[in-house]
Amino acid sequence: MGLTRQIEALLFLSPDPVTADALAEATDAEPEEVQQTLAALRDGYDAEERGLVLRELAGGWVLSSHPEADEAARRLLSRPRTPPLSAAQAETLAIVAYLQPVSRPEIARIRGVNAESATQTLLERGVIEEAGRSQFGATLYRSTDLFLALFGLRSLEDLPDPSAFDPSPEVAAELKERLLAAGDARLPDSDAPTP
């Protein structure tokens, strides 16, 4: 069972620098042996013109890709991930897009259910971002430029007029107030009569 194999696998799996001692402990090998293996791996990558570079930084040893591949990597990987939006994600994104900046408690109040995981996913995909704090201390969210690009919009002005999709156009009130009122009607609280 090769030490080189194990060390290379461990370096591959560790996103952060890892010390030779930690590698020695994990592989149950002598620290000197591990040091030698690391040096051999590093020199091997270099001599064989591999795509990997092994470096010793302050905190330990870390694998990275060879800089020569950066341009190709950007071409391959810097595209945003765009899987289909779930219903919860579309609702949350619509609320942020139309009402920004808007806090998560408000999003939850409008949707009638909590918006935790949808908000998280939208943040990870880079279509919304944090935009400071509300006066009550809740994190506020707004949409990003990536959001505009993914929806083919030049600016937020280009968002479709919600009245086109509005089931109750006769109610004349601010969009936000109406959304909150509809949300409240879905989630009865103690002092409001139930619909």
Binding site: L77, A90, F165, P195
Partner: protein, 259 residues
Amino acid sequence: MATRHIRASPLRLVDLELDLEVFAGPFDLLLTLILREEIDLLEVDLAEIVVSYIDYLEAKGELDLELATEFLVLIAALLELKSRLMLPAQENIDELLELDPGEAAQELLERLLDAHRYRGAAEHLSGLLAEQSGYRFRSAPLPEHIRKATVPRTDAVYDPARLGKALGSLLTLPEEVEVGHLPQVKISVAERLAHVRTLLKRGSFNFEEAIPRADRVTVAVTVFALLELYKQGELVWDQTEPFGEITVRRCESRTSAWA
């Protein structure tokens, strides 16, 4: 505050707090969530709700007739809806009910074979997963210099109309509980109580006489009224054999109900 459309409703089931496996909160919130499909009706144990309701009645010590009627209607609607969901396809219900025992067994057999097939597939998948668990994938964020956002090169992949529609659906006020698929129910426990008491003036009557050509909800509400009057000690009933006639008799005094 914007104009609020609060419809008058006889419902006051907010007081009925539920603590179910899939839901904790007031009964009517559960209804709203079911109608909005935030909760899958198939996951809800309706028997548990009935038990909660009975506990609630017990605790309150009095029967709120309006509430009881509403509850019966709603739980009946939920039961019907759930039974429909559990059958393969709506249009096949009648066919299914009319299957002879052989056909029913065949139908059941198909389902058992299906279940067997996917249990086998499940074992196969579990085996694959165990076998593959030694192969680990790297999970690390892209280095900053490669990640640099490239917004200008991004193609539009989503339709903005999706956002408008999502917002429009959020503006919709929740629908009232749909019980339209049930025969129009005008029956209430109060009305049935009065009806039974009128019949009792004769001294005794046959249960069938109390429910001529009645639908099932009416029969159920009438039984409910009988139970209530039995509890109050106003009547007793006899049935000599299963499915036989039920004779309801008036009690002359409260104590005679226990005689």
